[in-house]
Symmetry: C2
Subunit: 276 residues, 2 copies
């Protein structure tokens, strides 16, 4: 049995999609096909999509699941007329919040929200953080560490760069990263450029076999990718973390989202998020 779920929005669709995927991830079925339809912001587009939903239901032999975060009442009414299981996120949850706060939402009033100065500032800090992460990637420049919220350290290819970028984009965190080299590990002291910032350091470690696989993809059959080399580096870097009391996390079995969220929780750093 095939079944299709539509995540529909008059905006980016990111909220509908995130919620929809979280909900459907709770089911074992592999026959769930998920489609995101952003920017359904005119009656014409809504009617076209209604046809698609109808046709999909006929082809599947089962009515689709529709999860939507559409603001406009007229557009929502068209989508709701489809033969589908309708999960209407805003209608369901905004009413109790309106009652609680004693004010009507702009959803109910039927307009989208203007970008406030505060939201713009948060947004700008996210973009600035992305550029900060890129400029301070891989130990390229170490003289901006005073501006870092966090400095991720670890051996090459343990996941520092994607984590820093995710921290910047998602949470507006300025995260630099510094690769711990073999030379760094020979020294009992921390690398010189890191010493003033020990309180900002957070370490990543990784399973040596996984590291070797990742490095082989980048430089096949190199000394760099050799399993023994990876084992040595990982064991040395963990010793360095312990010697200098640096908190660290094993990235092997976590997604970037999880690594980032766990680092912030462990380091007690607040997320700076703007609504989508």
């Amino acid at each position: 049995m095939k079944r299709t779920a539509f995540f529909i929005s008059d905006g980016t669709g990111i909220t509908a999609e995130a919620l929809g995927r979280s909900l459907l991830a709770q089911f074992e079925t592999s026959r769930l096909y998920m489609v995101t339809k952003p920017y359904i912001d005119t009656l014409d587009k809504a009617h076209q999509l209604l046809d698609v939903i109808k046709k999909t239901g006929e082809e599947d032999g089962h009515r689709p699941i529709v999860i939507d975060t559409i603001i406009d009442q007229n557009i929502r009414d068209i989508i709701k007329s489809a033969d589908a299981l309708n999960i209407d996120v805003f209608s369901t949850f905004l009413e109790p919040i309106e009652n609680e706060l004693g004010v009507k939402s702009s959803y109910t009033v039927g307009k989208t929200h203007a970008l406030t100065k505060a939201k713009e500032d948060i947004y700008k800090s996210r973009i600035d953080s992305v550029h900060y992460a890129l400029d301070n990637d891989d130990g390229a420049r170490t003289h901006h560490y005073d501006k870092a919220d966090l400095i991720l350290v670890g051996v090459s290819r343990c996941g520092k760069t994607p984590t820093c970028i995710y921290l910047a984009l998602q949470f507006g965190i300025r995260a630099a990263n510094y690769p711990i080299t073999e030379d760094d590990m020979l020294d009992t002291e921390l690398p010189k450029s890191l010493r003033p910032y020990r309180h900002k350091l957070f370490g990543l470690t990784i399973d040596p076999e996984r590291l070797s696989t990742i490095r082989h993809e980048r430089r096949p059959n190199s000394h760099y990718a050799d399993l023994h080399q990876c084992q040595r580096e990982v064991s040395d870097v963990e010793a360095l973390y312990q010697r200098h009391h640096i908190s660290y996390l094993d990235s092997t079995y976590y997604s970037i989202e999880e690594i980032a969220a766990r680092i912030l929780a462990a380091a007690g750093i607040e997320r700076r998020m703007s609504p989508i």
Copy 2:
């Protein structure tokens, strides 16, 4: 009146947070204070958080709003005992989906989901795409364009890099970017390295005043940041897009999320997402 909203999860908290912020963005009030509490995955942590919720409600003089995506029934019961407006995302929406699909969710069964091979592959493609975006940033390497899903073009600092990285992280899209220089615009032809890939090109443009502001932050009082220079570059690059029939978007008033979602919608590229 101050009011606090808690977004609570036994995982990263990203779904609860995204949904919560979308919901609360529909209200004009500036006195809503939002706090995310990820990894509430033990009874101890739940009891501690219950105390925090209670105390916050007393301090605010209003009971908090609690939006949660906790899987474990026992942990959820503790959080639910708080004097708060409870928005229980999974309970609300999973039951109708269970009835529709005729199967119980792992939520109801009380276990979290194992990472399947398919999900791992999607995850790996997201990380690979991030490295691809970084390796192919700023026209650094143009000989991997055959592997690109998309090549973003535009003048320096119009938003190409953060957009490429977001496309990679969020949607698993391999996006390279190529900065259009003044030399490129003198030529009536496309830059040589782009010619074989005209069908993959997507342009960004930007308001010249905004561009000038952004460039001044990077290189104050430079020729590069001069308003007339920015006006000339923007008008030349738009002429180039039109001459070569390249679709393009004005990034000035959109967030990265919006730019990315609009580009994919316009280019007809499918998102490759893994559940969080």
